[in-house]
């Protein structure tokens, strides 16, 4: 029994140890998690700490350049841009998280069914998803919001719908390659029903690539929501939201008041960048093979 005695008897670490390990292993991941923590923090407690009320207008201090008093300057009706940018984080983040969660769930279910059972169900679902993807996605989202009405829920639904095909396809492929794997057949021999095999054995194995998709998608969903607001089909003024702020600020760039559009734009970029960086780290986190 020498094949066993030579092995070191290390025990598997806990989830928290694993997180620490992943962060230490990859400095980019660590940076991404710090940036992510900053965004989460500004979404949670930002509104309580900003120096000014984001909605309070004051004509006497309109269009002031960035200064120690107003870090990001003020806008045309004298609102503090810094306060507005920070307060907007919560709204933008909730829209993207809700939309991504919704498309993750719907896409996973559709993709799992198509990948596992195949046949006509697979063909029908695939053609349906092809149809969605054949539309210019942003135009589709515009159409949905325009048809359903200009509310935050509808922005979430629209963003979710245009994202579903990506998840469904990914899950379908991941499930499909594992459909006849040895461990799946073994799970059936252990008395698992098809549904249980799919949910407990196959689907979790699709999680690592899904996490990369989720993370990239979060950034993309923020851009999408901001884009909808930018063209006037989303959150309505005066609610602070990065897209509207950029749209409003764009009018003032020609006259030299650059800070109105640049700072919300920078924040938008920062958020998207964070989520793009986060993907690999999240994947490493849910992949047990990284736990050695």
């Amino acid at each position: 029994m020498t094949d066993i005695s030579t092995q070191k008897t290390t025990r598997t670490q806990g989830k928290f140890d694993h997180l620490i390990y992943v962060l230490r292993e990859n400095p980019v991941t660590l940076l991404a998690f710090i940036m992510f923590a900053f965004i989460i923090l500004s979404a949670l407690v930002g509104p309580a700490f900003v120096p000014y009320d984001p909605l309070e207008t004051n004509a006497s201090r309109a269009l002031q350049a960035p200064s120690w008093k107003h870090w990001f300057g003020t806008d045309s009706v004298g609102r503090d841009v810094f306060s507005r940018v920070i307060v907007a984080t919560r709204l933008d983040l909730s829209i993207s998280v809700a939309a991504v969660a919704l498309s993750f769930v719907i896409g996973s279910i559709l993709g799992s069914i198509a990948g596992y059972w195949g046949g006509w169900l697979d063909s029908v679902l695939n053609r349906f998803l092809d149809t969605i993807m054949a539309f210019p996605l942003f135009v589709l989202a515009m159409g949905i919001v325009a048809a359903l009405g200009n509310t935050i829920e509808n922005i979430i639904y629209a963003t979710a719908i245009i994202n579903v095909p990506f998840y469904a396809r990914l899950v379908r492929a991941e499930v499909n390659i594992r459909r006849d794997a040895g461990f799946v057949r073994a799970a059936k021999l252990a008395g698992n029903s098809d549904l249980r095999v799919l949910a407990m054995h196959i689907f979790p194995n699709a999680l690592p690539p899904m996490m990369v998709q989720v993370s990239l998608n979060l950034g993309w969903a923020i851009l999408n929501a901001a884009g909808l607001s930018f063209i006037g089909l989303g959150v309505r003024p005066p609610t602070p939201e990065w897209g509207i702020m950029v749209a409003e600020g764009a009018n003032f760039i020609v006259s030299g008041e650059w800070w109105l559009a640049v700072f919300p734009g920078l924040w938008l970029m920062f958020a998207v960048f964070t989520f793009n960086l986060l993907g690999d780290g999240l994947r490493d986190l849910v992949d047990p093979r990284k736990r050695t």
């Binding site: 029994m1 094949d3 057949r185 021999l189 252990a190 008395g191 194995n205 047990p288 093979r289």
Partner: protein
């Protein structure tokens, strides 16, 4: 011709440098075939990559010399190496399908290497490529020139790889596990061809393999490697008859041979008596006129054509055949993962083929029929720990929970010889033998009456195969399970089984008691199979092995 002195290769990894090869020295004479034998991780492939200077990123030669006909291989420029590869030294890789570019015609791939080394011009490349194909005895070479790798069988692909390797008349051929994954008759054909070509062209060759029997049959000299070091080298016969090093002795012992008992695979000190298993004269499983037909693209494919056989209570039956003979389909049907087209499968008198495969998970008979899968790695969920994996059937079918479940898992781990510390590991943290044990523990968790073993040791090193086979013998005696061992390896079947069924093209060509079929085969196909298996030299007669013949 080739001289290697104190060669050491090291790889940079996350956990510091790992020495894969630690100072090996050997020489290869002109016209000699040298066998490099070792188990996985012994550094035998790395040695050959180092000689060709095609080590993976992070790997480098840190010490020693390698000279080929006076040329220093360690310090040669990349430009010189490119010239040498293919023209002076060429290589045959393990997986012929992976070694060929899937989207190019095989003829073009041969032309590539010819033109790379200026052995052919644009105008005569085609003729020369067809000549190369003819040299490896491919029938209808003109037509094969146009084929894509996916249109050819594994053996045919390996011939193409040989053709590419030999196209420029190299002086040295390195064959890295050239027949792993090929059927036993194909293995013989490919190896015979390679040997003949090497002799014909007066080339030298290094054959890297884990199969000591194969090396003994085809090599002039054998080098045995372990943990990056050469532990022994010498004449194959001498190594078999009088192994000097303890590791060589262990390898020689673990290589299955004719006329030896299963215990003799183990080191001498572990050879305890073979426990007897009782065979009752009542059928546990009866297969009647089993037929399975798939709907293929070009008409129906007859995977299983009218098979009938019986397995008695406690009996171990071997199902032997080459890939595509329908043995896997048969086992899938018996284990109720697949429905048969027609025919009956009576398990303890009950027709289980009448129950659809998808409903069988809820049938009370589910826990009586279990299976050990071919590839232990593939059969374990990468996200589940060993404990979770073994618990799965106990939870789902045995309805066990809590302390009772934990106790049973520990008991099973002890039974299959898996240290309980390994229970909380994920599959990727286990070795091949450990994964095989987890798979067996899961299969016997519910004490099935009938266990299908689908090539349970195909992916394992011989020394681990020896341990696993002996474990199976012990379990059979302890638990009274009937086995159906599906295998292409006749030696393994001979060791473990009471009864043998030989299959070809979906039909049984011969069946009977193991020693009768193995020693006095009647059917030509059985004879071919037996002749194709490598015949390692017999061991010097030693003291009688206790326990005698298990069959």
């Amino acid at each position: 011709m080739l001289k290697v002195k104190d060669l050491a290769v090291s790889f940079k990894t996350r956990r510091g440098d790992v020495q894969a090869v630690r100072g090996i020295s050997f020489a290869l004479a002109r016209g000699e075939i040298l066998g490099v034998v070792g188990e996985s991780g012994s550094g035998k492939s790395v040695t050959s990559y180092a000689l060709m200077r095609i080590l993976d990123a992070g790997g480098s030669i840190i010490a020693g010399d390698a000279t080929y006909s006076g040329l220093d291989l360690r310090n040669a420029t990349e430009r010189d190496m490119r010239d040498i590869r293919g023209r002076e030294i060429s290589m045959i890789f393990q997986n012929p399908r992976a070694a060929l570019n899937p989207i190019r015609k095989v003829g073009h791939q041969i032309e590539d290497v010819l033109r790379q080394h200026a052995q052919a011009t644009k105008y005569n490349a085609r003729t020369k490529a067809i000549e190369a194909l003819k040299a490896v005895r491919i029938n209808d070479a003109e037509a094969r020139y146009e084929a894509y790798p996916f249109e050819l069988s594994g053996g045919m692909c390996q011939r193409i790889v040989c053709a590419i390797a030999l196209a420029c008349n190299p002086r040295l051929l390195i064959a890295d596990e050239p027949t792993t994954g090929l059927d036993i008759t194909t293995q013989k054909a490919v190896m015979d061809l390679v040997r003949d070509l090497i002799r014909e062209r007066k080339m030298s060759s290094i054959l890297i393999t884990h199969d000591l029997g194969l090396a003994a049959q085809y090599c002039d000299r054998i080098v045995v490697m372990k943990d990056g070091m050469i532990v022994e080298q010498g004449d194959p016969k001498r190594i078999f008859i009088e192994p000097q090093h303890s590791y060589t002795r262990k390898l020689v012992d673990a290589t299955p041979r004719q006329g030896e008992s299963i215990r003799s695979l183990l080191p001498v000190e572990d050879r305890i008596d073979i426990p007897n298993h009782v065979v009752y004269d009542a059928p546990l499983l009866e297969v009647r006129n089993l037929v399975k037909t798939y709907q293929g693209k070009s008409g129906p494919v007859h995977a299983v054509k009218d098979m009938s056989f019986k397995i008695k209570w406690g009996q171990s039956v071997g199902l032997v055949g080459e890939s595509g003979c329908g043995k896997s389909t048969t086992s899938e049907i018996l284990v109720r993962l697949m429905d048969a087209t027609s025919g009956e499968v009576l398990f303890d008198g009950q027709d289980i083929s009448a129950i659809a495969a998808k409903d069988f998970a809820k049938n009370p008979l589910r826990s009586d029929i279990q299976m050990v899968f071919q590839d232990a790695t593939d059969s374990l969920n990468p996200r589940h720990t060993s404990r979770h994996t073994i618990a799965e059937p106990l939870r789902q079918l045995g309805k066990m929970r809590g302390a009772k479940l934990t106790a049973r898992i520990e008991e099973l781990a002890t039974l299959v010889g898996l240290p309980s510390a390994l229970l909380d590991r994920f599959p990727h943290q286990l070795s091949g033998g450990q994964k095989a044990r987890v798979g067996i523990a899961r299969a016997i968790a519910l004490e099935p009456k009938f266990l299908i073993l689908d090539e349970p040791t195909a992916a394992l090193d011989v020394s681990i195969q020896a341990v696993v086979l002996n474990l199976l013998v012990d379990l059979r005696a302890k638990l009274g399970i009937s086995y159906l061992l599906v295998s292409h390896d006749l030696h393994v079947v001979r060791l473990l089984c009471d009864h043998v069924i030989v299959m070809k093209d979906g039909q049984i060509v011969e069946q009977g008691p193991a020693d009768i079929v193995m020693n006095t085969p009647k059917d030509d196909y059985t004879k071919t199979l037996l002749a194709a298996a490598p015949q390692p030299p017999a061991r010097r007669q030693k003291a009688q092995i206790p326990g005698g013949n298990p069959c």
